[in-house]
């Protein structure tokens, strides 16, 4: 006989999901599933709207990743209208994107993930308030770091979330000297905070090395953008790697040739896979760990050093496998985002006033691919001569990781439910698998 235990809702993530655990009479796990329970119909209601609206409506898919959705839709429009945006426009888009990475990665690490490490047995304290009470200095700095990211977005776009600053062909406004100065101040503050926080977090991770190595140690294919071997969060070719082997490298417009999506009857989130590997062999993961796994190097010095240490800690020259390793990879990318923001604000072309390329509405199809904090994000629009959207396809990072999340949940369930009494801390140990991926459902 099968008993089903449901964990609902999964907490400390954006959006709504639940876990179902199928147990036999001896309380051993027979199956475990992660269900996305909220239906989003963006792909339908974008039909009939004007293509130039896409960058403004699409961010509503997610509050945490709204800048990435905004930019993926804007990039799709650029490609649809065949415009090359001015270099300064690209820099400004990338700068707001780095602001988002600083805020989103800080949010997932400090507000959502760290409470599991500090309070594994106490569900009442297992949150940001528990951290404020017991680790006030550390938490204050963590909150401040996230604020730097959100403030960079606000200074550039006028708001913290759901921006409307990028338009087809570029961005609406150039930076003013005052904005530049304020952003510089935030970046230097973020850099100081990184110097203080990163060693502390790495020590916490290293102290939990057994957990990192033991917990749901899954291996999959990995997918991410790369610019000639370097980590890239805005542009680049899509790389698909198997463990220790390059499988594919293709430009963004070819995504539909290489990615397919399976539908399960029990989740509102589909299961993307690599077509030439078939299903389920073609299951892959995206996001911080996957991005580092497809990159040879990182272009900024501190993050490159962190990448080296990360690989050394897990005793590998390139790919790191597992589940909780996502958090460590997130930390490496957080360092990169701060350094990259500094590179951008110091770029000689950042203050140029040519920020928008004229475009003409015409019928066509455009794909925009970008790295959102939780993984590769694809927006694809087809419109007619009037600019009316006829078809839309969006595949976002949480969905790309759906196969991986389910694998990790199942593996964790097998590790922690082996016949003993089921308690809240044990169920939380299974839920940790979901948080590792930072889904936005």
């Amino acid at each position: 006989m099968s008993n089903i235990i449901t964990i609902a809702p999964c907490t400390r993530i954006e959006g709504e999901g639940k876990i179902s655990l199928h147990l036999d009479d001896s309380r051993k796990i027979t199956d475990a599933r992660f269900h996305a329970v909220e239906f989003k119909s963006f792909e339908k209601f974008m039909e009939g709207r004007h293509i130039a609206e896409a960058p403004f409506i699409a961010p509503r898919m997610s509050a945490i990743s709204s800048v990435s959705h905004h930019l993926a839709a804007a990039k799709a429009c650029d490609n649809l209208f065949k415009v090359t945006i001015p270099p300064t426009a690209k820099l400004i888009r990338q700068l707001m994107h780095m602001g988002q990475f600083i805020h989103a990665h800080s949010l997932h690490l400090f507000y959502f993930a760290m409470p599991d490490i500090f309070f594994p047995y106490d569900s009442k304290k297992r949150n940001i308030f528990g951290m404020m009470d017991t680790q006030p200095e550390f938490t204050e700095k963590a909150i401040e770091l996230r604020k730097c990211g959100q403030e960079i977005i606000r200074i550039i776009t006028g708001r913290h979330t759901h921006p409307t600053h990028a338009v087809p062909g570029g961005v609406k406004d150039a930076l003013t000297e005052e904005q530049k100065k304020d952003i510089e101040t935030l970046i230097y503050k973020a850099k100081d905070l990184i110097h203080e926080l990163v060693p502390v977090i790495k020590n916490i991770f290293a102290d939990n090395d057994k957990l990192f190595n033991f917990y749901a140690p899954i291996k999959t294919h990995y997918v991410g953008l790369s610019d000639n071997g370097s980590l890239d969060l805005y542009d680049g070719k899509v790389i698909v790697d198997a463990p220790h082997k390059r499988l594919l490298e293709f430009p963004e417009e070819e995504y539909a040739k290489h990615f397919g999506e399976k539908v399960a009857t029990w989740s509102y989130m589909k299961f993307p896979y690599i077509r030439n590997q078939g299903w389920p062999n073609g299951l892959f993961r995206v996001g911080p760990l996957a991005r580092l796994n497809v990159s040879d190097k990182i272009s900024t010095p501190l993050a490159q050093q962190e990448l080296k240490e990360f690989r050394k800690f897990f005793n590998t020259s390139k790919q790191v496998h597992g589940t909780l390793q996502y958090h460590w990879a997130r930390l490496v990318e957080l360092v990169y985002a701060v350094e990259k923001a500094e590179d951008i604000i110091n770029h000689p072309e950042i203050m140029h006033e040519n920020i928008r390329q004229h475009y003409t509405i015409k019928a066509g199809s455009g794909v925009g691919v970008i790295e959102a904090p939780n993984g590769l994000l694809i927006h694809h629009y087809t419109c007619n001569d009037n600019g009316t959207i006829k078809r839309c396809n969006i595949i976002e990072g949480s969905e790309m990781n759906n196969g991986g999340i389910n694998m990790s949940v199942k593996e964790a369930a097998k590790q922690y439910l082996n016949g003993q009494e089921i308690t809240e801390p044990i169920l939380n140990m299974i839920e940790i698998a979901v948080r590792a991926y930072g889904p936005t459902l």
Binding site: T11, E38, R60, H160, A264, Y268
Partner: protein, 188 residues
């Protein structure tokens, strides 16, 4: 009202107010000092089988499926005051965009027709049934206040919460920043 207990729950929508809560930054502690946040799945390990009695429930978004309707009714039973947050919570806004289409049409497009979907089918097992049209909380339960408008700043949010917890009618600007939000603002 002495340090009231509050819960915050997000229905379907853009989840902006969940994030606004965190955008109080260091003032989140101040909120915590003014009110006991006792149930909020976004920041805390709050589960559906353990929704406590509270003084104030804040609701973001629209109900888009049958489970959300049920949770909303449960929350109404447990809360002295129910306050909706933002455009989606108070009127319909983003979830309203799908109103021109039937639920069946939307499901068919997403799970069968999109370019990358293979052997599409409509999910139905162990997940809630989608409502034909999304519903504003006020169309399901009695709502005591609406915090209208959208994209309020963290400072405005904190002021509103302080107003409510100190027994005052919340007074924050019902401004509209979203160029694609067309629903007419309705004054109480």
């Amino acid at each position: 009202m002495n340090k009231p207990s509050i819960l915050i729950y997000a229905l379907g929508g853009c989840k902006d107010y969940q994030l606004k809560l965190i955008d109080m930054y260091e003032k989140l502690k101040e909120l915590h000092d003014h009110a006991d946040l006792v149930w909020n799945p976004y920041l805390m390990d709050s589960k559906f089988d353990n929704i406590p009695d509270v003084d104030i429930a804040f609701i973001e978004g629209n109900a888009v499926d049958e489970d959300q309707v049920a949770i909303l009714k449960q929350i109404r039973d447990k809360a002295k005051f129910v306050i909706t947050l933002g455009g989606c919570g108070s009127y319909e806004k983003i979830p309203e965009l799908k109103t021109p289409f039937t639920a069946a049409e939307s499901l068919e497009t997403v799970y069968i027709k999109t370019e990358t979907t293979d052997e599409g089918r409509i999910p139905y097992k162990s997940i809630p049934k989608v409502l034909e049209t999304s519903k504003s909380p006020k169309d399901i339960i009695k709502v005591d206040y609406n915090l209208r408008g959208h994209c309020h700043t963290p400072k405005e949010m904190l002021k509103a919460i302080k107003d409510i917890v100190s027994g005052e009618r919340p007074d924050i600007p019902a401004k509209e920043l979203c160029q694609h939000c067309h629903a007419e603002e309705v004054k109480e």
